[in-house]
């Protein structure tokens, strides 16, 4: 009636209806399901029946997207740094300082195309590095694991590889105890929603704030389930240094633990269970190995230190009596342990210097209470809805059109179902993204593989430079988030100004973070400006069957709602155009447009059996009907607890990964839960930071002792943004800027918020909404202070992932008013022999800031 056209999109926070009028986005709205959409499932629990609402409950960051599409920081034209002359002086030292001039697409593509060939000729294979972030706007075609992967293979690049940054402690630690390598050491969540609602008495949210991390990509779908749990009297417990939004929502007992010390609390809980004999003997005796040795450590026979509640009090700040009460409550009631954003793993505590210990301790707690017993499992209501998981549709990690069989899940999904050209990278050299600055600046770096095929694959080191390959002299950067997301991020500012990098290309949507360090900027468009196809919260890959986090499986044709702004182009188009310049346009594209590819993905999936292409294009989405209760997935680990062959619908571990008969037991060497992992024993039983017999040690960064503590007495937590998906919706005039819990406008500039306790504020003379300098030896960030009782003395809180980086002087060496808290975090790895980032906790001092003049200048 208002002259608008309604399109459909799928975003990182859920599906949207997009209304467009006169070529502009009018509104982005929640999708309310219609009469022709299937009815939802029902769960019966304790005499009540629960069904989800018939709409897609999205994350707040989805509802802010229109404001970032029309951002003043959008890059609308190809640009070249003014003092970058590809055939003359390149002035790398001026990256991040000098400005840009508009150039034509032809000129931009000529420069990039000829530089690619020049690099190969002059330096040889490996000279071109391709770096990308962990996330991307949603889809199966334009995604980095799809088109960008194929581009990298087409060009031949040194891949800058990701560490398992979301999983760290689980991948490098917990996995050794229970296997689950295909999920990087976390649980699967099958059937746990129904089990929790029917059986559980309480849920422990340990380093978990799912009302902020929204189960990852599943929006606010689980919020309603937490209200159900409340109505059923299922209690909530929160172990978190921050009184989180989830705690505010569910209520319940709060344990404001000293960050980085959680393992001590966990050990003391086990101490109480052992001394009061309240652990699950069935599990421990029949399903585990190594318990006697472990018990000796807990009781102090190994090291003379019994891990008593009194002992942990000195570490964690949690009273011994509270520790005993928690242990007794946990053992006497059926308890779910809900770690991290979806209850199955993750959690800020897995990303600090003691993250490996913590995740290991968490699965040992599960084992001692009978993991898989009714009402006892990993979960926090974020996962395990009874949606139909047998219906096939690919997730973003399933390879899309990449044709890349090793570094995506394509080999078992898209490649076999959607015949397309195989692609392969001729360059074997890789470099870890946490060590990219060292690779460039020092000329060498060591990494360890992110490889899910086995428990042991992670032990494999790799070196940069790889024998016989060229060092990196050209960086093709896709996105520009590192200043906000990688530890000790000033390193990147230094790296960019190194003469080793002869050319830096940035393919970006917005001018932010690192983008302004590039020589050539290629303007990409947002997902609203191109076609794609995707399913809500379906990541595939390591997140196999994560669709069980949402209430309805929603598969959307992602319409091109508007034309690309300015001269921006879709990523796919840009990559194709570059490939044309080197004679490989057809190899890259198979002559297909993005819509053609979306159709090919559709045809390869089960959706094609239920709705015609035309109807899908017209309606925009398809909802997979829930299956009859009899076909619902069984509960994760129940089979193991009961000693049956594995019956949950995951094809993991690989058939050859069992050491008992197929489907019998876990992936570990003993096929049992291993308190003392045999994989770590084989590696090196006494490896200092990752011994086979796990020991509690204070984190090297973040402990309340030592010299550093005297100078930097505040522990700064940097968990994930609530209102943005990492850097994506932060900054750039985003509508979330005005949210009181996101940023604070002071003098016209929107400052990152640092939250501090009333006592720390008082002792430093810091008032609410006052500008402060948060600093340590690595640098300083100017923030606005929020004084709140949600933190105890000595702990501060600020989100990682600032999109804007605004040094008030020399890049990399002056205070930042953009809000990049990762300037302050340690780049040291959690343990030798890993690339486990430890950035979520660091030591800082905070003081009032009055350098207004400098800020005024920088803000302009």
């Amino acid at each position: 009636p208002d002259g608008s056209t309604r399109y459909t999109q799928m975003t990182n926070g859920g599906p949207l209806h997009v209304y467009v009028r006169d070529g502009r986005i009018l509104r982005t709205d929640v999708i309310e399901f219609g009469a022709d959409d299937p009815e939802p499932w029902t769960i019966e629990a304790r005499g009540r029946r629960f069904s989800p609402q018939r709409k897609g409950c999205v994350a707040p960051h989805s509802l802010t997207l229109k404001s970032t599409v029309y951002s003043e920081d959008r890059i609308l034209y190809p640009m070249k740094r003014v003092d970058f002359d590809p055939s003359g002086e390149r002035n790398p030292q001026n990256r991040g300082i000098s400005g840009y001039e508009r150039i034509s697409w032809d000129e931009a593509l000529d420069i990039v195309g000829s530089e690619i060939l020049r690099q190969k000729r002059v330096h040889g294979p490996g000279a071109i590095a391709l770096a990308h972030p962990s996330h991307h706007q949603w889809g199966n075609v334009g995604y980095y694991l799809s088109a960008m992967m194929r581009f990298g293979n087409t060009v031949g690049v040194t891949r800058v590889v990701l560490n398992p940054d979301s999983w760290e402690g689980w991948y490098w630690g917990a996995m050794h105890h229970h296997g689950g390598s295909m999920r990087l050491g976390t649980g699967s969540g099958y059937g746990t929603l129904e089990d929790a609602l029917k059986e559980a008495d309480q849920i422990v949210y340990w380093s978990a704030d799912p009302e902020s991390q929204f189960g990852g990509y599943s929006g606010t779908e689980a919020s309603q389930r937490r209200l159900w749990a409340k109505e059923l009297g299922i209690e909530a417990i929160h172990i978190n240094p921050h009184y989180s939004p989830t705690a505010a929502f569910t209520g319940g007992k709060w344990f404001p633990i000293v960050p980085g010390t959680d393992t001590a609390l966990a050990l003391a809980l086990m101490y109480v269970w052992i001394t009061e004999d309240t652990y699950d003997h069935h599990f421990v005796e029949n399903r585990s190995t190594g318990f006697e040795e472990w018990k000796d450590y807990i009781l102090g026979k190994t090291d003379g230190v019994p891990k008593t509640p009194e002992w942990q009090e000195g570490e964690t700040g949690i009273a011994a009596r509270d520790c005993r009460s928690l242990a007794r409550s946990w053992a006497s009631k059926k308890t779910y342990l809900g770690v991290g954003m979806a209850g199955l793993g993750f959690g800020g505590a897995c990303r600090n210097a003691s993250g490996i210990q913590w995740a290991r301790a968490m699965v040992m707690l599960m084992a001692m209470q009978g993991w898989g017993r009714p009402g006892v499992n990993l979960g926090n209501l974020a996962m395990g809805t009874p949606v139909d998981l047998e219906f096939y549709f690919p997730g973003y990690a399933d390879g899309g059109m990449s044709g890349e069989l090793q570094n995506t899940a394509s080999a078992t999904n898209n490649y076999v179902r959607m015949p397309h050209l195989l692609s392969m990278n001729p360059v074997r050299q890789i470099v870890p993204r946490q060590r990219l600055p060292e690779a460039i600046l020092d000329g060498k770096a060591t990494g360890y593989l992110l490889d899910p095929t086995s428990i042991e694959a992670q032990f494999m080191p790799f070196e940069y430079p790889a024998p016989g390959y060229s060092k990196i002299h050209m960086l093709y950067r896709y996105g520009g988030s590192a200043m906000g997301t990688i530890a000790d991020s000033s390193r990147f500012a230094k790296m960019y100004r190194s003469p080793e990098l002869e050319c830096v290309v940035s393919q970006s949507i917005w001018m932010e973070g690192e983008t302004g360090f590039a020589d050539i900027i290629l303007p990409a468009c947002t997902q609203f400006e191109r076609f794609d196809i995707g399913e809500w919260n379906n990541t595939g890959g390591f997140g196999f069957h994560w669709q069980s986090a949402v209430n309805h499986r929603v598969i959307a044709l992602q319409h091109k709602c508007i034309e690309p702004l300015g001269e921006s182009r879709s990523d796919y188009q840009i990559l194709w155009d570059v490939c044309k310049r080197i004679g490989l346009g057809n190899y890259f594209s198979e002559g297909c447009s993005e819509l053609d590819w979306a159709k090919r993905v559709y045809e390869s999936s089960d959706v094609a059996k239920h709705i015609s292409w035309k109807d899908l294009c017209r309606k925009g989405y398809y909802i997979v009907p829930p299956e009859p209760p009899a076909l619902r997935a069984p509960v994760d680990m129940r089979w193991f607890y009961e000693g049956r062959p594995k019956d949950v619908p995951e094809p993991f571990p690989l058939p050859g990964g069992y050491s008992d008969k197929w489907l019998h037991g876990l992936q570990t060497q003993s096929s049992k839960f291993e308190f003392i992992p045999s994989s770590l024993k084989r590696l090196d039983p006494e490896q200092a930071d990752r011994p086979a017999l796990m020991r509690y040690t204070r984190p090297f960064e973040g402990a309340r002792d030592g010299e550093r503590y005297k100078r930097f007495p505040i522990q700064l937590l940097t968990p994930h943004q609530r209102f943005s998906f990492h850097t994506s919706q932060d900054g750039k005039g985003s509508a979330i800027s005005d949210l009181a819990d996101h940023r604070m406008p002071i003098g016209g500039h929107y400052y990152q918020i640092v939250r501090i306790s009333p006592s720390d504020a008082a002792s430093r003379g810091i008032g609410h909404r006052q500008l402060v300098k948060v600093w340590n030896d690595q640098g300083a960030v100017i923030c606005a202070a929020e004084v709140t009782p949600r933190l105890v003395e000595g702990v501060a809180h600020s989100y990682e992932s600032s999109a804007s980086y605004k040094p008030i002087g020399e890049p990399g060496a002056s205070p930042d008013i953009g809000g990049c808290m990762n300037i302050l975090t340690p780049n040291r790895m959690q343990a030798d022999g890993t690339v486990a980032s430890a950035g979520s906790l660091c030591m800082v001092e905070i003081e009032p800031w009055s350098g207004d003049g400098a800020i005024q200048e920088a803000a302009e």
Binding site: R27, P60, P245, K253, P256, S325, A735, T788, R790, V792
Partner: protein, 281 residues
């Protein structure tokens, strides 16, 4: 004649801000002829979320509630001065005619809730008008309601008598009722914002070991009369909520046989966690 009301439930809100952002999305860059000029990109939120923090670690409570134009029936913004500019519609919605309002910065101060915002760029006073342009086009509820994942916000269209009955039935509160503006925005479980709690933890030491005491009775008395009573939980915690502010009285911790285990006087003007109360035995 049925009229629009909005009911907000403090106990259902997860503070996701979807309501705030959906409302912002509706007005950002958009002109709805006869209804509203575009909202400014940054600065004012016509519907926003307030936060209330009570208590301190380890016993505290945080809740949220929306603030926006209250669609008052007895609206101070509607007067001779705003005649032809601000109007109360038959369905209860209060709207500002953007054309007539041009240049009328003086109207901003007429709202005692601070819910009329001045758009400097467009020189027009603005506020949230219940998404009237969508309602008139047949939408069944404003966008904040659709975007809410927990049904913490509901839009109901009732005649005033029915609404009054519902309000008294469910103990719905209004913002600043003392202003006499007769708002059409109602708040459920608003005690979490307006009332105070008083809590503490009962512990005892035996053989040198301190433990929480579960299940003892704690009584709260005012002027010698028992006002409320509860039992400690497994953490020894007790919490009396919905207390008026300020309040003074005494607490008694009682054994099962009625023996007095501990007693103390209190006086509070805001929510308070008293900390540890040690008992013998």
């Amino acid at each position: 004649m049925t009229k629009w009301n909005l009911i907000f439930d403090v106990a259902r809100c997860n503070s996701c801000n979807n309501c705030v952002l959906a409302t912002k999305d509706e007005y950002l860059f958009n002109r709805f002829d006869g209804y509203s000029e575009p909202a400014p990109r940054l600065g004012d939120l016509w519907l926003t979320l307030q936060r209330k923090e009570r208590g301190k670690a380890p016993m505290m409570d945080v809740s949220h509630y929306i603030t926006t134009c209250q669609q008052c029936d007895n609206a101070p913004c509607i007067s001779e001065r705003s005649k032809g500019v601000i109007t109360k519609r038959a369905d209860g919605i209060v709207t500002i005619d953007p054309a007539a309002a041009n240049g009328r910065k003086d109207l901003v101060e007429t709202c005692p809730y601070g819910q009329i915002f001045w758009n400097e760029e467009l020189q027009v006073p603005q506020k949230w008008s219940f998404d009237a342009h969508l309602i008139d086009a047949g939408r069944k509820e404003p966008r904040c309601v659709t975007a809410c994942p927990t049904r913490a916000i509901e839009a109901v269209k009732l005649d005033d008598a029915k609404m009054a009955a519902l309000a008294s039935d469910q103990d719905l509160q209004q913002l600043n009722p003392e202003l006499g503006t007769k708002p059409r925005i109602w708040y459920r479980n608003f005690d979490r914002v307006t009332a105070n709690f008083l809590g503490g933890t009962v512990v005892r030491v035996r053989d040198g070991i301190e433990d929480n005491v579960e299940g003892v009775e704690v009584r709260l008395a005012v002027n010698g009369e028992v006002h409320a009573s509860c039992r400690t939980d497994i953490y020894g915690d007790f919490r009396f909520d919905q207390l008026p502010a300020p309040i003074e009285g005494s607490l008694q911790v009682l054994a099962d046989d009625g023996r007095l285990l501990a007693a103390l006087d209190f006086q509070i003007t805001e929510s308070r966690y008293l900390g540890i109360i040690e008992i013998d035995a």
